[in-house]
């Protein structure tokens, strides 16, 4: 319930603006200044330093016709869809955690879910690389042990073009980054006992309670997570860089837009073109977020 302040009442309320003065200043200086700099440079052939040659819309024209960039957006779309599916598990975990009767054990679980979050991301990457390693990796080892493939056969998880993307999607199983779980839990714990009692009196089953009470009530959190997930997925490139190198795997099959920026700017010295791709990512992310906010409405 926000306080509506019209222009007329501004005389009494203008000090409120000071609340955001400092963050606004920081954001303008440390975020907008470099970003605007980047926007301007998409019209330049720019090596990041002294060479600045105005070329107008040449890069924009090239971006539109860049089949590799188009492919990279297709790849990232797959990752976004996959990540939407992956959101189910953390929701389930949070709900189940919320329902664990024994408080002590439930509490213990919560702590345990946070602990793996502490593992440095690099460790995860190193370990998953070994998981997929074709000759002695644990995955092929299990397939051999269960007789799915012969003792000297291998499945090339990260080099067979057909398997690269599925392998990347599966990576990080069970996908319960504590952020999701904790944020849902915080939402779930806001549901009052009365609602549960009412549901129990109505004789509602667990599924009904989940779909009719819990899910609608954590929609705020689901939406937050959805928006953040889409943004971070579209911008992500580090994992693919570390797993498959700057070329995005065999034949560039897993190239994503963020990695293209990195490659164009730092490997090929085309900072201007990197900025142009950055602008495209910006526009796409913005559009998706606006659509998401329209579709996933929160019913209170």
């Amino acid at each position: 319930m926000a306080i509506e302040v019209s222009v007329k009442k501004l005389r009494n309320y203008y000090p409120a603006y000071f609340l955001i003065a400092i963050p606004l200043f920081l954001v303008l200086l440390f975020s907008y200044h470099p970003i605007v700099n980047g926007f301007i440079h998409m019209f330049y052939r720019w090596d990041g330093d002294t060479v600045e040659e105005f070329i107008g819309l040449e890069y924009m024209w090239r971006v539109i016709h860049d089949s590799e960039l188009l492919h990279s957006f297709w790849v990232v779309t797959i990752f976004v869809v996959a990540n939407v599916v992956k959101m189910i598990l953390p929701i389930l975990v949070a709900v189940v955690l919320h329902h664990v009767i024994n408080d002590r054990i439930g509490y213990l679980y919560r702590i345990l879910f946070v602990v793996p979050m502490i593992i440095p991301a690099m460790v995860g990457i190193l370990i998953w690389k070994y998981f997929y390693e074709p000759n002695s990796g644990i995955l092929n080892g299990m397939l051999r042990a269960f007789g799915f493939i012969g003792p000297t056969e291998t499945v090339q998880w990260l080099s067979d073009p057909a398997l690269v993307i599925p392998s990347l999607v599966f990576m990080g199983f069970p996908w319960v980054g504590a952020f999701g779980v904790l944020i849902y839990l915080a939402g779930l714990q806001g549901i009052s006992e009365d609602i549960y009692e009412a549901a129990e009196i109505d004789g509602a089953g667990a599924l009904t309670v989940f779909f009719k009470i819990e899910l609608p009530l954590i929609m705020t959190q689901v939406r937050i997570n959805l928006v953040l997930m889409i943004i971070s997925t579209i911008q992500s490139w580090e994992n693919i860089f570390l797993f498959l190198g700057a070329d995005g795997g065999p034949g560039g099959i897993a190239m994503v837009p963020g990695l293209m920026i990195f490659r164009e700017a730092f490997s090929r010295g085309l900072f201007g073109y990197g900025c142009a791709i950055g602008f495209v990512i910006f526009v796409v992310t913005l559009a998706l977020t606006l659509i998401n906010n329209k579709i996933v409405r929160v019913n209170k």
Partner: protein, 276 residues
């Protein structure tokens, strides 16, 4: 009686489900600790199970490499987190409680930030930091991170503050509370769980961030732990045991911190106060 049995069965299934998920979530942690006690040969022959003898000297080496950076990292991570959340709570309060002329536009300014991929403006950012004289100081890590953190934290916090019942604010206002009184006595207690979560995320993010310290810090006595960890990897040869020992040491302060803070944040939440 049947009902009790059914619910006991259901309870067991819940535990089974959670334990199974936890098992997978803990595999990387297990491997990290396991490998940290091996030498390269043991790792090559048997990376998955413990093997004798344990190489505790890996930890000595790991500590030697990264120990000196721990306090820098605590300082940077904590300062960044506290400042980020301080400004973000106030900012989120502003957007959640006031509909001022221009509110939407200002909110847009913050949110647009999240849409721009950071990798595209690494070079302009470096030039800015160098020109402000922040290069090779901890401020070069703290201030830009506080700025960059505003968008995400305001976005999340605003949603939570909007959900705080009006009655609570009214009650405070009758008592004569001003803005900061309201934030201290209503907003912070009510959104403690989410502030805690955001704090944890921010600390972890800072703890693991190696890009900005690598670019902005030159002196090794100011360096943070993530960069020191990277330095354990050679290009041509890697010593896995030492590497993992280093990562394990780096994780311990975080684990200790969370053992204490989890109580504060998860349990400290008064049930039913934040209504949807």
């Amino acid at each position: 009686m049947a009902r009790v049995v059914r619910s006991r069965f259901a309870e067991c299934m819940k535990h089974l489900f959670i334990v199974l998920i936890l098992f997978f979530a803990f595999v990387p942690l297990y491997l990290m600790v396991n490998i940290s006690l091996k030498d390269n040969l043991q790792f090559a022959l048997n990376p998955w199970l413990p093997s004798y003898p344990f190489h505790w000297e890996n930890y000595v080496y790991g500590w030697h490499q990264i120990g000196g950076t721990i306090f820098n990292t605590i300082f940077v991570a904590t300062t960044t987190t506290v400042l980020t959340l301080f400004f973000a709570v106030i900012g989120a309060y502003f957007f959640a409680r006031y509909k001022m002329p221009g509110s939407k536009f200002l909110f847009g300014i913050f949110m647009l930030l999240m849409m721009y991929p950071a990798v595209a403006n690494m070079v302009p950012m470096f030039k800015l930091i160098a020109s402000l004289g922040l290069y090779n100081t901890h401020l070069s890590l703290i201030i830009p991170a506080v700025a960059a953190g505003q968008a995400f934290n305001i976005y999340v916090l605003r949603n939570f503050i909007e959900d705080i019942p009006q009655d609570l604010f009214d009650a405070i206002e009758i008592d004569g509370g001003n803005t900061f009184w309201q934030i201290w006595h209503v907003v912070i207690p009510m959104s403690m769980p989410i502030i805690g979560t955001l704090g944890i995320l921010s600390i972890i993010g800072q703890w693991n961030n190696f890009v900005s310290p690598l670019l902005y810090i030159r002196d090794s006595n100011l360096q943070t732990i993530a960069v020191a960890l990277l330095n354990l990897e050679g290009e041509y040869t890697k010593n896995w045991g030492q590497l993992m020992a280093g990562y394990t040491i780096a994780s311990i302060p975080l684990i200790v911190l969370f053992i204490f803070c989890m109580k504060l944040f998860i349990r400290g939440l008064s049930s039913g106060a934040v209504k949807g």
